[in-house]
């Protein structure tokens, strides 16, 4: 057991076979269909498929940028080293009734608890990262585990996928077959001619083929880096399992197919816009919104992030605008 895991507070398996967990004043338990969350001023039920898909992403992304709303009540806010766990924080009715609750934890503590919860509550055959059409159901009493799926390592290139010594391209041989919805995506690789001595400098790969072989959905992974500018493409199918609240501007470039985004005010949840993106479209997501995407067919989305640690404070203090350009 690692140091991180020693901070996990869990109870014995219940009648359904699942452990319960505690984080400060929050308690979590699951039954055959639901996750039950309690805190000092309230209780909440979430369908276990919704909860595990959100939890999987919060764990894999190390709490991502800004807010990860599991639904309209429960979620986390990343402060990059420590994390808020909240109930009702971004729900006006809960705030007005003073039923909302928020506690802050070191990232290692909440991360360790979340990872232990995800592993214990994910049954054999259920993959929270997979499209719902490509995985078994999460329901029922405890039935084995799927540790391999819930502990996938996130792709994080140093310069670019395919550069010598960096992240490798995907293939059948490396365990990444072409997804059923991308069977028509050309798999040709670029012609690369390198003079001796420059093997670490001259590199190219087929990003679209690489994405066609992704075995996960709604999981931005870093494929190229220019200082703090990160290309984080991802393949999307069905519904983004979280509602992402921004702490900085992020950009979407729709590489293929179609996604419809519901955009709401980050703090109140009040609807602000629908952004309908088709292949080749580019759109910013402002720093003061939350958004959730709907992708009827598996699509390729380039999420472009500015990873600067200074941005959240600059935007929160008003020194940087919440939207990217003035015109």
């Amino acid at each position: 057991m690692s140091t991180t895991e020693t901070t996990v507070k869990s109870g014995p398996a219940n009648e359904h076979g699942y452990k319960s967990f505690e984080l400060g004043g929050f308690q979590f338990r699951r039954d055959e269909f639901f996750v039950h969350v309690t805190w000092p001023t309230g209780t909440h039920l979430i369908s276990v498929d919704v909860f595990l898909r959100a939890l999987q992403r919060d764990c894999a992304w190390n709490f991502f940028y800004g807010t990860v709303n599991f639904d309209d009540v429960i979620g986390t806010i990343n402060h990059y080293g420590n994390v808020d766990l909240f109930a009702g924080r971004f729900n006006e009715a809960y705030r007005t009734a003073e039923l909302d609750h928020l506690e802050n934890f070191p990232s290692e503590e909440i991360g360790g608890t979340f990872r232990a919860m995800l592993d214990d509550w994910t049954n054999a055959g259920f993959d929270p990262f997979a499209s719902p059409a490509e995985t078994d159901a999460p329901w029922g009493v405890k039935n084995g585990d799927n540790t391999k799926a819930v502990t996938r390592q996130r792709v994080a290139a140093n310069r670019m996928v395919g550069v010598k010594g960096d992240e490798r391209i995907r293939s059948d041989e490396s365990g990444y077959p072409i997804n059923r919805m991308f069977a028509d995506v050309p798999q040709d690789e670029p012609e690369v001619h390198v003079e001796p001595g420059y093997e670490s400098e001259i590199a190219a790969f087929n990003l679209f083929a690489y994405l066609s072989r992704s075995d996960v959905t709604w999981n931005p992974s870093v494929v190229s880096v220019v200082k703090e500018s990160l290309y984080c493409p991802t393949t999307e199918e069905y519904i983004l399992p979280i509602v992402h609240g921004n702490d900085r501007v992020e950009w979407f470039i729709q590489l293929s197919d179609f996604i419809s985004w519901d955009v709401q005010d980050r703090d109140s949840g009040s609807p602000r816009a629908k952004v309908i993106m088709k292949a080749g479209d580019v759109a910013a997501m402002p720093a003061d919104i939350r958004h959730q995407g709907y992708s009827p067919k598996r699509s390729m989305l380039l999420v472009w992030e500015n990873n600067s640690a200074d941005l959240p404070a600059l935007i929160a203090s008003g020194k940087a605008p919440t939207y990217p350009v003035n015109f």
Binding site: P190, E228, V325
Partner: protein, 164 residues
């Protein structure tokens, strides 16, 4: 069994999406389309379509042969449509302005060792390594998306490319 069709855009065939505003300003989304931008650009103009502080994504209409460029940091280029060759040269001496962000033009042909070249088709992404000179050539009109930093060659024309 459904035969799924993956839809990519191109200069010849793209369909732009839209914003349905409920309570916001459409300008906040800076919504554009890379193929539409390229269709209205001059060859090898570097037109910003996404900006995040100093970082930028530029659309380039590749047509014929470009001039030579160099940069003080890594860049990448993604071919969104067509076919583009990128040639690389390691200059004999420092020809980039140290500390200047973004692509820089090189006067004439840089003197140095050939490093190689890559031929990019749709979906292919290449590294443009820092301190190496490069140029593009395209026998048919193509579209590139360059990941770089705002620089002397970046053109910003948001009002003419974005929904408002």
């Amino acid at each position: 069994m459904t035969g799924y069709k993956t839809v990519f855009g191109s200069l010849d065939s793209f369909e732009k999406g839209r914003i349905e505003i409920i309570d916001d300003d459409p300008k906040h989304y800076a919504f554009s389309n890379v193929f539409e931008v390229a269709s209205k650009s001059k060859a090898y103009e570097k037109v910003a379509v996404a900006l995040n502080q100093q970082y930028v994504l530029e659309v380039i209409r590749a047509e014929g042969e470009s001039g030579w460029y160099v940069c003080d940091h890594d860049e990448t280029v993604l071919c969104m449509d067509g076919e583009v060759r990128v040639e690389f040269v390691k200059p004999d001496e420092t020809i980039h302005k140290v500390g200047t962000d973004g692509s820089q033009s090189v006067a004439g042909v840089p003197s140095g060792n050939p490093m190689g070249n890559v031929l990019l088709r749709r979906g292919h992404q290449a590294l443009l390594p820092k301190h190496s000179a490069y140029r593009y050539s395209a026998t048919k009109t193509s579209v590139l998306l360059q990941q770089t930093i705002l620089g002397p060659l970046t053109k910003q024309r948001w009002a003419s490319i974005c929904l408002s």
